[in-house]
């Protein structure tokens, strides 16, 4: 792991495999190196968050199934079952990949896409509740099936946005420190 780490993460200013001097002094390069410095921590944070949320759902998938149904996205019972059965474990799986550093950018891309989707359906559901109850948007509170019980919608959206930022961070990062296999195809 350390050999790959040294090979893939040379010091700023060192000559890369393509023969070019790393442009650490350029603003874009500095920005990239800052992203890279924090990426192991970001990776572990996002991984732990998804393992926690996934396990919370996977331990009671029937409850999760009931909550997913409330979104009324899928009418077919077997598709609904498949989603409720697989999504929690898929989150755990992606979390484990991030923590071990396997296929980091691909996992982060998937999690980021999922977070965008989650936020869209959360907003849709909150708006539906708001239409019935005539409450201020941020006063809407419900069990979103996110693994954290009942939450206020604005707080949940903010949390998801933070996680989305972390996922985008990892998609941008090239740091291979403490990664088992940062990229599956290189």
């Amino acid at each position: 792991m350390s050999a790959e780490s040294n090979r893939q993460n040379p010091e700023p200013g060192a000559r890369g495999s393509d023969g070019m001097i790393r442009a650490a002094s350029l603003p874009a390069g500095r920005w990239q190196s800052r992203v890279d410095v924090w990426s192991p921590g970001v990776r572990w944070l996002l991984g732990v968050a998804f393992i926690y949320m996934g396990l919370a759902k996977a331990l009671d998938p029937v409850d999760f199934l009931k909550l997913v149904r409330q979104y009324e996205m899928i009418q077919h019972p077997y598709l609904l079952n498949a989603l409720a059965a697989s999504l929690p474990w898929f989150e755990v799986y992606c979390g484990l990949l991030l923590i071990t550093g396997i296929g980091v950018r691909g996992s982060a891309l998937l999690l980021g896409t999922m977070l965008v989707g989650f936020n869209l359906v959360l907003v849709k559901r909150a708006l539906a509740i708001q239409a019935v109850l005539s409450l201020p948007f941020c006063a809407i509170k419900f069990d979103c099936g996110c693994g954290a019980g009942e939450v206020y919608i604005c707080r949940k959206l903010a949390e998801n946005l933070c996680l989305l930022v972390l996922a985008v961070w990892l998609v941008m990062s090239r740091n291979r420190r403490f990664c088992w296999r940062h990229s599956l195809f290189i």
Binding site: W89, L133, L135
Partner: protein
């Protein structure tokens, strides 16, 4: 990176389904957990928090729920029981001999926290746990009352539909729309713990020797 994401998605999806299959609490993929559910009719919050004093909004929600409840029952051909009928059945002498049976369609936690005295638990999401016990009882009973939490809860309906599918006569089944919430509001006895534990909620008098001896206020 997209190629990598696709590989992770496919492998992860397959592993997730295997994990679900191996989990003792996993979802059974081939089962319809919501029999008879009418698409679009159940558009409601699990929990919503109206601010204190916003009774108008709450009443509006209750009215909508009552309407959607009646609509659903009509569509499914189920019999809706009001609190008068349920109290009458609870006090019926046949209750002691299990010719009148109450079924609690909620999960373990809710059941343990309080149920109608003498009610059997039938959490239809985990039907395999309960069917062997309750099916013979329901098939020999004259009247079966099924309840869950109350108007916003559908589990009693799903349980009723599952029992009909299992061979219990539709005419014998009643779904108590008010559910446990209305039961408690009416200050009726609530048994805690296991069935026939004899323990009532704190503040209620000692357990009746038979449900027929319990008098509603």
């Amino acid at each position: 990176m997209i190629q990598e994401a696709v590989v992770i998605l496919v492998a992860g999806g397959a592993l997730a389904l295997v994990a679900n299959h191996l989990s003792p609490r996993g979802v059974v993929l081939s089962r319809n957990y919501f029999p008879g559910a009418v698409p679009g009719i159940v558009s409601r919050p699990v929990v919503a928090a109206p601010p204190a004093g916003n009774s108008e909004s709450t009443n509006a929600l209750a009215a909508i729920s009552e309407e959607s409840l009646k609509e659903r029952f009509k569509a499914q051909g189920l019999q809706l029981a009001d609190s008068n009928l349920v109290i009458q059945l609870f006090r019926d002498p046949r209750y002691a001999s299990e010719l009148v049976v109450f079924l609690d369609a909620r999960d373990d936690q809710h059941y343990q926290e309080g149920h109608v005295p003498g009610a059997y638990q039938f959490d239809h999401y985990r039907a395999e746990k309960h069917l062997a016990t309750i099916l013979p009882v329901c098939q020999t009973a004259d009247q079966v009352v099924i309840y869950c939490n109350g108007g916003l809860c559908e589990d009693s309906e799903f349980s009723a539909l599952m029992l009909i599918e299992a061979g219990v006569l539709k005419e014998r089944l009643w779904v108590y729309g008010g559910g446990m919430t209305e039961w408690k509001t009416n200050n009726l006895p609530v048994e805690i713990g296991a069935r026939q534990s004899g323990q009532l909620l704190p503040g209620q008098s000692s357990a009746p020797s038979s449900p027929s001896e319990t008098n509603p206020p």
